[in-house]
Subunit: 415 residues, 2 copies
């Protein structure tokens, strides 16, 4: 549960809950619901009661500060049926933190030293508000400050260990994401269907020592379709082995559509393929206007294989700088000449290029969303592909950028 | 309600709900709870019933895709007590989207054409899954895809208007955001302090016919500091007039630090200044690797003033293509020569440039975060500035890009 009206108003994105969800998954603890609620006592109390009703433990984040709208403590005390009492040790720490920083302490800071009777304090090490471990019958509420830096410390230092010791659960949950490009979500699902059917079979029961991974699909637009494999097992080694085995099966079905794993982007895949083959690259961009280059330089060490390029937005730049033949510029031939021109100009091994119509208006009677990409590989004349891309200006450019990088990656794998 | 196990596991941060919360606030609609739930039919159904119990309308996001784990449609049908029936118009649109892109459509895509009886379809314009408006007694569930780009379109086009017509709420909340660059949040707040004091005076009561705007500051990192003016009034005209009057006061205090309003980015401001002066621009980029160019081409009509440029990532490209003198390349002189070189090469009126060290390692004994930007204005030799920028590779590049555009914008205003 994340507490704060600013979260409901969208003035802050609640990234704390996602981080806490990751930590719970790593600790093998299932988490079924996450809720955001504003700074309103009745609604916080009712959300806490509901959460305790459907879960064994509730993590609450936010509303522990010194101001009038910080009322999580009051809400928890009400749910516990307990009084708030000042904790002298906490009050002392707050006073000394202000003294150390040479600041005068306003009295409302001592609100943070109030603790529901029966609750245990998680000492603050990074801020002024302590955390709280609050038993409610045989269940428990953990309260942490909303400042991410303070919350993360308490979560790892106190909350996750306490949860694990209560649950007696020894399981861990691990996952890996395979990233694909070039197929619709439905087509990926169809290729992977044999695995889904096998994993869904109810006749063999999965156990923590013989876990059965689950598979999920994530459509992430310009980043392609992701296939996530998750396994819950007795320990990390068993989970990792189950995931590795499943990954091998999925790669067999998906082939070179898989360009990376977890945080690996398409530009990382391109960089790795170039390093392996000891080749350098340059880019001539019209449609994408520098986007391909700006993504390639994101790869650490790009200087070893990326020479640079030309943004030939104006036709005269295509003719005068890249040596493209005067004439129409939204064509396969122009894409080829651009790729060869930038390869020659920079002395790189490979030249790639983009030209096309981002929209909203047609150009040279070519429809918006039409793109031509050129690839000049080592010692070969260039060839080019025609693409039809959906969306507005920005999406057409983004799709063209990743499509071009993927085309190069696949050519390099074939070669 | 956001649906998706990946949200609970923290593999994706749910930024959709925050965005929707903003839009609801702007429309004057209170939002008290936000919930995340995994891809589990029983839990989605129970969360929907609870949400309908405590609210008049429920917005659901995610779980409308074509795969087996997309079960929001089934859950809503169960809550409505309705059957899912195929909608031929939706199915036709899905088929034609695949045909247009030249892809074969697998049959599971037609799952997206199933609609609970009694629900109304929000036609899809950006993806394959339609949205749904689902009456439940005198309440309503709105379902939208989880892809932000698709959700945002449906929210603005169909959901907010439908909500407003149901609520009969007559007050409107309007806001305008002034965007500044070059000042810390505290400095902006100090400049604006006279207005804050005046607006906070409790002696005159604001009313819907004589609204008093509120001012908020948003620090948005690489986008600068935003100053948001909000007014709640009986009608749009009254709200807009109050905001316009306040904007004039704020601009008097902030001067040319204000580069745009609402969605106007720095590149829009640069484009407007160039068009007004009938000047053309080219960019030579080392440090930023194409990022400046890729932002400039985002402006519709950029072809009227943007020629293109050179991504001179490798030093040889600086020397051979831009004619920079051989020697150190992380210097003020290199930035000047790059700006003049790209102006000459492309025949533009103005050339601008970046060179520097993105990190993590120093280069030519220059520390990471050091950037040199060059500006060659019409008929003048170039000059250059040295910047020291915070953050990792990506942030250094982003800061350098907007700093360079702002420097050009201010030079043009002075000239």
């Amino acid at each position: 549960m994340a507490v704060g009206t600013e979260l409901l108003l969208g003035q802050i994105v609640d990234s704390n809950s996602a981080w806490m969800g990751q930590r719970l998954a790593q600790a093998g603890i299932d988490s079924h619901y996450q809720t955001k609620v504003g700074d309103n006592l009745a609604r916080i109390v009712s959300a806490l009661r509901l959460a305790l009703d459907r879960s064994d433990a509730v993590l609450v984040c936010g509303g522990l500060g010194p101001t009038q709208d910080d009322i999580t403590r009051e809400a928890i005390a009400e749910v516990m049926g307990a009084k708030l009492v000042p904790d002298e040790a906490v009050a002392g720490r707050i006073r000394s933190m202000f003294a150390q920083r040479g600041r005068t302490m306003s009295e409302n800071n001592l609100r943070q030293a109030e603790v529901p009777e029966g609750a245990r304090v998680i000492p603050q090490t990074r801020g002024t508000a302590p955390g709280l471990i609050c038993p409610v019958g045989d269940k428990v509420i953990y309260a942490m400050p909303g400042v991410p830096y303070e919350m993360m410390d308490m979560m790892d230092r106190a909350v996750v260990p306490d949860l694990q010791s209560r649950s007696g659960e020894k399981a861990v949950i691990r996952s890996r994401t395979l990233r694909t490009w070039g197929l619709a979500e439905s087509a990926v699902a169809e290729l992977v269907a044999p695995r889904l059917e096998l994993l869904d079979r109810p006749d063999e029961k999965a156990t923590l020592s013989a876990p059965r991974p689950t598979i999920a699909f994530l459509a992430s637009g310009i980043e392609g379709i992701k296939v996530r494999v998750t396994a819950k097992a007795a320990d990390e080694e068993t989970a990792d082995a189950a995931i590795a085995a499943e990954e091998a099966e999925l790669r067999r079905l998906l082939g070179d559509r898989v360009f990376g794993v977890d945080d690996e982007s398409m530009e990382h895949a391109v960089g790795a393929a170039l390093i392996e083959r000891d080749l350098t690259l340059a880019v001539a961009e019209s449609l994408t206007g520098g986007l391909v280059a700006s993504r390639l330089v994101n790869v650490p060490g790009a200087g070893n294989w990326f020479k640079g390029g030309v943004v030939a937005y104006d036709s005269e730049v295509k003719f005068n700088v890249l040596g493209v033949t005067r004439g129409p510029v939204v064509t396969l031939d122009c894409a080829k000449e651009m790729a060869e021109g930038v390869r020659r100009l920079t002395g790189s091994d490979i030249g790639i290029s983009t030209t096309g119509v981002a929209g909203p208006d047609p150009q040279e009677e070519v429809a918006p969303g039409t793109a031509f990409i050129g690839l000049a590989l080592p010692g070969q004349p260039a060839d080019a592909l025609e693409l039809h891309l959906p969306g507005d200006r920005d999406r057409v450019r983004q799709f063209c950028t990743i499509s071009l990088m993927d085309a190069l990656r696949r050519r390099l794998l074939e070669a």
